[in-house]
Symmetry: C2
Subunit: 633 residues, 2 copies
């Protein structure tokens, strides 16, 4: 699944949300002493939740509620006279269609667009107060905003009651889904072992406490999964870990289930330092205050620098040690042998479903009855037949012809195109299985692709191979590989406006840090054996078609001819094993090495997926696989 930034927008007909009354109510709340001691002159509505999640639950869609725009990125700011919403190029069209004329769309990335700070400074009366919910603004964002406003004589204040919630009458409740406990066969490590490893990292750096705020980190640490947020098998919680203490904050009802109680050893802790004290989700604030109140003079507390301003500021500055990547984030990224085995199994099952889908599409498309939506539904249906299927890992990007050029496209009834023999079909989709998470993109033509379509597909393939086959020293950061994916496109004057790869969780979020392959992420951590990332270069021709070839790949050690300074070398092993359509390739543009790569990849697909298709008795898909994995010349 392609990562931002992209500069295309959803070409869909939508009617704007009428916000006159809502804005009146919000402005009233901004003056209401029930919520704030003094009236505020502006209120910021960020798009995130209290955990800075990429996907959010319906109860946290506050920015969408106030302005109507439902894209994944955007910040709304309301003053007494103005209402403005900042989003990036992906969403310009969508936002302009979803917002009514009470709102000004602030197009980020354009030179003439003021930043939120500069805009506030330009519209606010002297000595204004700007409010924000400190739970949904990250500590670093708070700091920058606060500084900029102060330099112009204004001040940023934390408004403890969320003013959107105050006017949102039918706001959904926070989800509290059933928890799934994962045993050693899926995780490879007990939560107790993970806790011990975390504490040894803390001891190494002389850290007394660690505050876990990211939902996927908490799920990984406790070997638990939930379904509070669509596509992300996580649950709302916080954790505070000391050298002898574990505090877990979540809806207490969820802990009444015997399997969960037993998994967490709530009733019979094996050791005192592994005894978990549970407390309600909301009590994390006061509990962290209590922890901080008893800190010794030199004690330090770790918290992610992306954690909420509210929690971060509970920790006195002298004790606070903010980190860009927590030890959980780093440990989670390097998959152990059990997780790798699980990811491999998940990818085999996923490939079975996709081989079936493509065989089915070949048969059905000529009838003219398959649409973007029905193809995506069929893919989900076939995946759901596989063992331990849980759900999709993100909304399927199922796109025909010009819709394929919209990088984060999601088919809607009003945009739904029919698959045909004349247009390219791009399917970027993935699933959550209990043993792993998948994410794969294939671009196919079911008729005769044009020479230009084949040419650009081949450049993308060359880029995909250049990354997948790259050999690089241990300790190399992923962003140093990004240009390999672009070299063939650049040589012909082409490019794509998104990163090349993102980290992938193991039955966790499909996008995870701290590694990736992007010209943008310079704060990425070095690649290590056991990390799993996507490799997904693309090419997008506006109004015509989109091409993307995406595999999930595992970082593995390799032994080239020499071993400079005993540093060791790494390369990638594809976990995704779905044929790449040979019909789309102009083989004249491939080097012998690249042809060999394609043939070896297809040999692996045939061998591994063929065996599973046979086991499952899926004959049509098997025939399709055999045909699609013929060696190319």
């Amino acid at each position: 699944m392609a990562l931002p930034p992209v500069y295309l927008s959803l070409d869909a007909a939508m009617s704007p949300k009428i916000t006159v009354e809502l804005l009146r109510q919000l402005r009233q709340a901004m003056r209401n002493t029930k919520y704030i001691a003094e009236p505020i002159q502006a209120y910021i509505v960020p798009s995130g939740d209290a955990h800075q999640s990429e996907y959010i639950a319906p109860c946290d869609c506050r920015r969408e509620f106030i302005c109507g725009f439902n894209g994944s990125a955007g910040t709304a700011i309301v003053t007494e006279k103005h209402a403005a919403m900042w989003t990036d190029g992906r969403y310009f069209l969508q936002a302009s269609q979803q917002m009514d004329n009470n709102w000004t769309l602030m197009k980020m990335g354009l030179k003439e667009t003021l930043s939120q700070e500069d805009w506030l400074i330009s519209v606010l009366p002297e000595n204004s107060t700007v409010g924000v919910d400190p739970w949904i603004i990250a500590a670093d964002q708070w700091k920058n905003m606060s500084k900029a406003l102060a330099s112009a004589g204004h001040s940023l204040v934390a408004v403890q009651d969320n003013l959107i919630d105050a006017i949102w009458m039918d706001r959904p409740t926070r989800p509290s889904t059933q928890l799934l406990t994962l045993g050693l066969g899926f995780t490879g490590l007990t939560w107790q072992d993970k806790m011990t490893a975390l504490r040894s990292k803390m001891a190494e750096r002389k850290i007394s406490w660690f505050v876990a705020t990211a939902l996927d980190e908490i799920a990984w640490l406790f070997n638990l999964r939930g379904s509070d947020i669509e596509y992300n098998p996580v649950f709302f919680a916080y954790a505070i870990v000391g050298m002898n203490t574990i505090r877990l904050f979540m809806d207490i009802k969820r802990l009444a289930v015997p399997t969960v109680r037993e998994h967490l050893q709530l009733d019979t802790p094996s050791k005192v330092e592994l005894s978990i004290q549970t407390a309600p989700y909301e009590s994390v604030f006061t509990e962290l205050q209590a922890v901080c109140a008893s800190l010794g003079p030199k004690e330090k507390v770790w918290i992610s620098d992306k954690a909420s301003c509210a929690l971060t500021q509970v920790i006195p500055k002298a004790h606070r040690s903010p980190i860009p990547y927590t030890p959980l984030c780093l440990a989670k990224a390097v998959k152990n042998a059990t997780e790798i085995q699980g990811m491999k199994m998940a990818h085999i099952k996923d490939a079975v479903a996709l081989c079936e889908l493509f065989a089915w599409l070949e048969k059905e498309i000529p009838k003219g009855t398959v649409t973007e939506i029905s193809a995506a539904d069929k893919a989900e249906e076939l995946r759901s037949q596989q063992k331990d299927f849980v759900g999709l890992s993100f909304p399927s990007i199922s796109s025909v012809g010009p819709n394929g050029a919209i990088i984060h496209y999601r088919p809607l009834p009003e945009t739904n195109r029919t698959l045909s023999l004349n247009e390219i079909y791009l399917l970027d989709s993935g699933a959550q299985y209990i043993d792993g998470t998948t994410d794969v993109t294939r671009t196919m033509h079911f008729g005769s692709p044009s020479a230009y379509e084949k040419e650009t597909f081949t450049y993308v393939l060359k880029g995909h191979i250049a990354v997948s086959a790259a050999i690089f020293p241990n300790g190399t950061k992923g962003h140093l590989l990004d240009s390999f994916a672009r070299q063939a496109l650049w040589e012909s004057g082409l490019d794509y406006l998104h990163g090349t790869g993102h980290g992938v969780g193991c039955f966790l979020n499909v996008h995870e840090g701290p590694c990736g392959i992007s010209y943008k992420t310079f704060a990425d951590e070095p690649l290590e054996a056991g990390m799993i990332v996507s490799d997904e270069p693309g090419y997008y021709e506006d109004g015509l078609f989109g091409i993307r070839i995406e595999n999930v790949v595992l970082v593995v050690p390799t032994k080239p001819k020499y071993n400079y300074r005993n540093k060791g070398s790494l390369t990638f092993e594809p976990l995704t094993l779905v044929p790449i359509q040979a019909k789309m390739v102009n083989t004249d543009l491939l080097t012998q090495k690249e042809r060999d790569w394609v043939n070896e990849y297809h040999r692996q697909c045939r061998e591994t997926i063929g065996a599973e298709l046979e086991r499952q008795g899926r004959k049509e898909a098997m025939d399709w696989l055999i045909r699609e994995t013929q060696p190319i010349a």
Copy 2:
């Protein structure tokens, strides 16, 4: 000339400087109320000058004076009981040999080495005061150090009188060399035009004043050159530019010369806003204070964020606008047509000298009389015969066999090896001509290179070609090209531990910002047509040999098959035209495209340098050139 970081050290025998008495005197000064109101418990001696120059004048070598270590990077800190000096891996051996046992060598880059801040905190008594000369510490460094010390209860204070100068009896005076005025034929733009362009950038960003502190920026702005610092044709000065005012601060004696007075129109300014007020170098502080005292409430002053703490803090925070790259730095980096023409001429002359040198070496080496030092001297002699030669652009790296593996090697009598038919010779050298600056590395074998030497040379050559021939979109930052230079080495498990390229000035510093090609510089500015950088991958086998192939290349527009989003594409054109030794190449490892590149490059060398050799009647070099530019198969 290769850029840091490197992790090798100079393998030379040196005797340490005896510092007992000096340290006693310095500690006395640290308590002397003649210099400070209260005694300080530590004194920091950075290695730079007041302009954060890479190369410094003898009067600014304060860190060398106090500890004996004369490498280009290092910071000394003296407390009442300790003396410690931080430097990086290039200099561990050299520093340990040059410093006596009063000093502790702090090896930067090793895990166990404390940072300066942490070390100070670990050794200082409570509530200590640490002093530093605010003129030779950059504003951002001051900020970080001050913050870290404050967090531990200490404070950083500015000591206006430099305490090293106070005890340095025979300190050289600040150089004040004769100024050279450059006409339009060399600069392409008058200083008046440059001033107008600067002011329009200021107006664009609503900036009232700009403080120029970097010596090369001031030299470029005024179309003047000096020789105050070895290898760098600059002079000590500051400038403050307002919309109607120009203040130039330098040794007033230098301005008595009629050609300089006329060049700067000191006596007959054409317009009032182009009239230059001159003042002594030292008066910049009080003059900037005066400027700041008269600022309107919204007026802003631009200053480099790498400027000295002393000058930066003169500007009240509300008016200060620190920038990573000044408009002069950016304008200087994009060479105009006249500068490009000059750089081309300089490179032709430089190639003539090197062809002569290599022809001479071939004849002389078998006699066993040529050493690293004599070869470097010969290169300088041959260069000095060329028109408008001014001097070298950096100390020649002339290295035989194992010395070649020391990336920043400089031959000394005690390390001087004799060139032979058995060892690789690496020469990285360059010159200043009035029309341009050169920097070229060639690696040669005058006997029969081993298969391994040829293999690694060929990987380096493949990397050099991959960068030189790269096509990339307009707006690409140079660091995205760095991995292209390493791909062939990485595939065989090899690498080199320095960046691939640096910006090159035009009759200015051989290292200049804001562009470059390095895995390290993520703050580099996008490459633009007219920028000039080096392309210099290498490979270093400790104790055996070093290989580096370096050309200076010009960024030029190119037109590939397509033009994605009308962004346009760029590539490089080599300015350096010196044959690459074919004998060192294993042609089997080259692709046809790479062989074509080599042959086309050699065709250009033969055509362009051949014509000049013929014009200068240098027959032996011509024969050598013809032989060395035969096409490879």
